[in-house]
């Protein structure tokens, strides 16, 4: 073969295809040089990761040398410009954890059930219609989400918080309660053998349970209705928005995981007479569990690493809400602290105030690194399991 850029002629005499030793060597060297050039460019990505870790760590370590480790992880006081300054990140770490947990609570149930629906329930055409919704949700820039949270959602929560929450609760809980009541009343009466009596009993159970459920709904709704939210920029606002932002990741990764399980298991389960729900819950979900776990991890990473939304709409108050699960309090997160304080700290490069932000960055980086490794490992395990069993 010739390493020439001209198009090879087809009617070449055959002996010209045999290369001289020199040409052969030249080709070999050229190929090697080309390959190593490609390799060098390829390692840019790897070098970037290493450089990121090195440069963040290089600026983070001086903080621990200056101030020690204990204060950072145990103190809740965040007064970086105080005299003496206090660099306690506990409240900020708690804030990050709180909003991440909130986002997971919003995104995972929604995302996983939507993924199930997409991969197994909806017909192909409907799926094609839903896909763009997910893509658009993923494409909207984070600053637009943050703007929405700050300018639209926060005033709404502050002015009509109780009413908004109550309406959302009714809309969400009504169908769920209805489904639960129907299933429970059916389960309760399934032992009765005579058809007519069972039907009667089921109707009675349905009515009684429905009344109870409605009462519960009304009571909780009224409690929510009376709630006043002091500030619209709080952990709940941010959690909801972060949950929506993490949804596309959770949906697409867990849908991939569900698809990867393959037809064989599904068909086997259906052949044994299982319904779709039973197939999904008893067969497919366990087989795809590690993929779904990876989806959750990626969702956590998305929520934890998000900056603009929390910076704009979390209230930026370095405090631990009391009680801890009070999502109506403003909080402050690691990412928002980095973004907000760097502008004041980078004039004083070299001070603890500058390095503490890098310590926070390192914390984020390490956590995301671990999450990423875990999700990769989990996905690899699933792949191995599935190919091993198939």
């Amino acid at each position: 073969m010739r390493e020439s850029s001209k198009t090879p002629r087809l009617n070449m005499p055959s002996e010209r295809l045999i290369l001289s030793a020199r040409a052969n060597l030249q080709n070999h060297v050229l190929g090697l040089v080309g390959r190593s050039a490609l390799f060098v460019v390829t390692s840019v990505a790897a070098a970037a990761v290493l450089f990121i870790i090195v440069y963040i760590a290089r600026d983070a370590i001086p903080f621990f040398q200056l101030r020690g480790v204990r204060e950072f992880f145990t103190s809740t006081g965040w007064y970086p410009s105080g005299d003496p300054p206090v660099f306690g990140a506990l409240a900020i770490i708690t804030g990050s954890v709180l909003v991440t947990v909130g986002a997971v609570v919003v995104a995972v149930p929604l995302g996983v059930s939507a993924a199930i629906c997409l991969s197994d329930v909806l017909p192909f055409s409907a799926r094609q219609a839903v896909k763009p919704v997910i893509e658009v949700l993923a494409a909207i820039p984070s600053v637009a989400y943050g703007f929405f949270a700050l300018v639209v959602l926060a005033p709404l929560l502050q002015e009509a918080g109780g009413r908004v929450l109550a309406v959302a609760w009714y809309l969400l809980a009504l169908p769920l309660l209805f489904l639960t009541v129907a299933v429970i009343s059916d389960l309760l009466t399934s032992r009765i053998q005579v058809e007519a009596r069972r039907r009667l009993a089921r109707t009675i159970a349905l009515v009684v349970l429905a009344a109870g459920a409605l009462l519960l709904l009304a009571l909780t709704g009224r409690a929510l209705y009376g709630l006043t939210i002091k500030t619209g920029t709080n952990a709940m606002n941010v959690s909801i928005i972060l949950g929506i932002m993490a949804l596309p990741t959770v949906v697409s990764v867990s849908e991939d995981a569900l698809q990867a399980v393959g037809r064989d298991l599904r068909e086997g389960s259906y052949a044994l007479g299982a319904t779709r729900a039973e197939t999904m819950i008893k067969t497919i979900m366990p087989a795809a569990s590690s993929g779904i776990l990876a989806a959750v991890l990626l969702g956590i990473m998305r929520a934890l690493g998000e900056t603009m939304v929390v910076w704009m709409a979390s209230g930026n108050a370095a405090q631990i809400p009391s009680p801890l699960f009070n999502y109506l309090e403003p909080i402050r997160t690691l990412t928002a602290t980095i973004a907000g304080d760097m502008g004041e700290a980078d004039h004083v490069t070299g001070s603890a105030r500058y390095h503490v932000l890098f310590a926070m960055g390192l914390l984020l980086l390490v956590f995301c690194f671990l999450c990423n490794l875990a999700s990769e490992w989990v996905v690899a395990r699933q792949r191995k399991k599935l190919t091993g069993e198939a």
Binding site: A48, L122, V133, P141, L304
Partner: protein, 514 residues
């Protein structure tokens, strides 16, 4: 379990899925509808005569002759307002002059009064603000209290005192009213032209004009009694001017606001291409748009070549092994690094270690690292999707490996690579965190159109300025339309890029099907 129960469970689990998908759709609508509906108001709105004056004076657009004619009518409609205010002001001036005359007369008659008063009365002059003069008189009267022995003088002073007490609040109210009128209509004729553009023009938009009209008609007070939360109370300003010649003014302003401002539906495309004026209170978003374009294209220029070559290496050259799996782990780790950490890295490496200036180049490099994994993944997928037969056919024709890649495989994979590139462009355009420390400036000059001159200059960008305008701007509440307009433009840019990618992907799918 009975079959019916199992069916019910089945149906309910499916409905759970439908509900979640429905919630997703509703969430998307709830977010996009306000952004686009209010964002459109930056482009299409009821512009007042002040808007047309602004365009004519600042951007030299519009029909000057028609404007002059219209402005004449507007001036006629506004004249009664200024006349009333001037008359009232003159009347107050007269009253004050009379009081001063009385005081001077008293001080001439009585030495002890003269001692107390003279120096202070000298401070009163026409150059001082009127309110200060009134204040001085009132202080003089206070000073005199208790120093007067004759009953006749005391009576005079009491009269003066009540006169000043009645006058002071009206004078203050008049000043506030003048401000409110200037806010609504622009500076009054004959006054000194204010330095700030925001004070040089009245309300340019009818929706803002309505708010300012309300400010003119009503005073906003906060009532903190009750549960401790402030409640807004509107108090009509007309009450401060009861039984004065000013009283009919409020009625006039309320009913002639449209005649004084001439609101008309306007389509302001200049929002995209005009320079901003007075930190975005007027004008368009040209610097933000240009900055975003520069940063995005810069990021793509760096990331795409590296991304494609990496993808070629992974899909064509790499043999499974430790090194390659390490490289792959690195790429996926890079994809998982939080965007703010990219920003910190940009600050620590490009700015502090490499001594680059904060500017477009540093920002673009930081962004290119952020989008690199996406491009690598998309390109690798596209290259792997090229059928084996292409490769075999090229090789069988005698093409070398590299030759095959360059002339056959990459062109065949190009639409897929392009899809990934376009999606990453959207990502780069929308990201904020990586450019906060490396490229963004809140108030930046419009960058030059010559890319070679901009690399070392900090720039405004849509994403950063959305943040900046809605959190740090001094009049954030008054320029909601600019903020929404910016968000709508940014989201539109990103969505159009994504739509393009989706269409491209659909075309590839069709082509592969045959």
């Amino acid at each position: 379990m009975r079959l019916a129960t199992r069916k019910l469970l089945d149906v309910s689990s499916s409905s759970l899925g439908f509900i979640s998908i429905g919630i997703m759709g509703v969430a998307l609508l709830v977010i996009l509808v306000p952004i686009f509906s209010r964002g459109a108001q930056a482009f299409v709105f009821k512009g007042t005569i002040e808007h047309r004056r602004l365009l004519l004076e600042r951007f030299e657009r519009g029909d000057a002759a028609a404007f002059a004619e219209e402005y004449e009518a507007v001036r006629a409609a506004r004249q009664p307002v200024y006349d009333t205010i001037a008359t009232f002001g003159a009347a107050q001036q007269q009253t004050l002059d009379k009081m001063i005359a009385v005081l001077t007369r008293l001080s001439k008659r009585n030495d002890s009064i003269a001692r107390l008063v003279k120096r202070r009365l000298r401070r009163i002059s026409d150059d001082e603000p009127f309110l200060d003069n009134v204040d001085t008189v009132s202080k003089v009267l206070e000073r005199l209290e208790g120093h007067v022995d004759s009953a006749e003088i005391a009576g005079d002073l009491a009269l003066l005192h009540s006169g000043v007490d009645a006058m002071a609040p009206q004078v203050a109210a008049l000043e506030e009213l003048k401000d409110a009128v200037a806010n609504l209509l622009g500076p009054a004729p004959g006054t000194v032209q204010p330095a700030l553009p925001r004070r040089q023009y009245g309300a340019t938009r009818w929706d803002r004009a309505e708010v300012r009209l309300q400010d003119l008609l009503y005073e906003t007070l906060w009532d903190y009694s009750g549960d401790g939360m402030g409640h807004r109370v509107l108090k009509p300003r007309v009450e401060q001017f009861r039984d004065t010649p000013m009283e009919p003014l409020f009625d006039y302003v309320e009913h002639h606001a449209e005649a004084m401002l001439q609101p008309r539906w306007t389509c302001y495309w200049g929002f995209l291409f005009d320079k901003p004026l007075d930190i975005h209170i007027f004008g368009g978003i040209l610097p933000e748009l240009l900055g975003t374009i520069y940063l995005t294209i810069g990021a793509i220029l760096f990331a795409v070549p590296v991304g494609i070559i990496t993808a070629i290496y992974f899909s064509e050259y790499a043999r499974p092994g430790r090194i390659v799996s390490f490289l792959r782990t690195c790429v996926s780790t890079l994809a998982g690094v939080p965007s703010i950490v990219f920003g910190m890295f940009g600050l620590a490496f490009f700015l502090n270690a490499c001594h680059m200036p904060k500017g477009v180049l540093a920002g673009a490099l930081t962004l290119s690292l952020l989008i690199l994994p996406t491009i690598i993944r998309a390109s690798e997928e596209a290259i792997r999707a090229v059928p084996r037969t292409y490769r075999e056919a090229a090789l069988s024709l005698g093409a070398g490996r590299w030759h095959t890649i360059v002339t056959v495989i990459v062109p065949a994979a190009l639409p897929g690579i392009l899809t990934g590139t376009v999606i990453s462009m959207g990502r780069a355009a929308g990201e904020t965190a990586p450019i906060i420390f490396t490229a963004a400036a809140s108030v930046a000059a419009v960058l030059s159109f010559n890319p070679l001159q901009v690399w070392n200059q900090p720039t405004a960008s849509l994403s950063w300025n959305i943040y900046n305008l809605c959190t740090e701007h001094e009049a954030a509440n008054e320029i909601r339309h600019v903020q929404f307009g910016m968000v709508a433009v940014l989201v539109t840019v990103v969505l159009v890029l994504n739509l393009f990618a989706i269409l491209l992907r659909a075309r590839i799918a069709r082509k592969l099907k045959g």
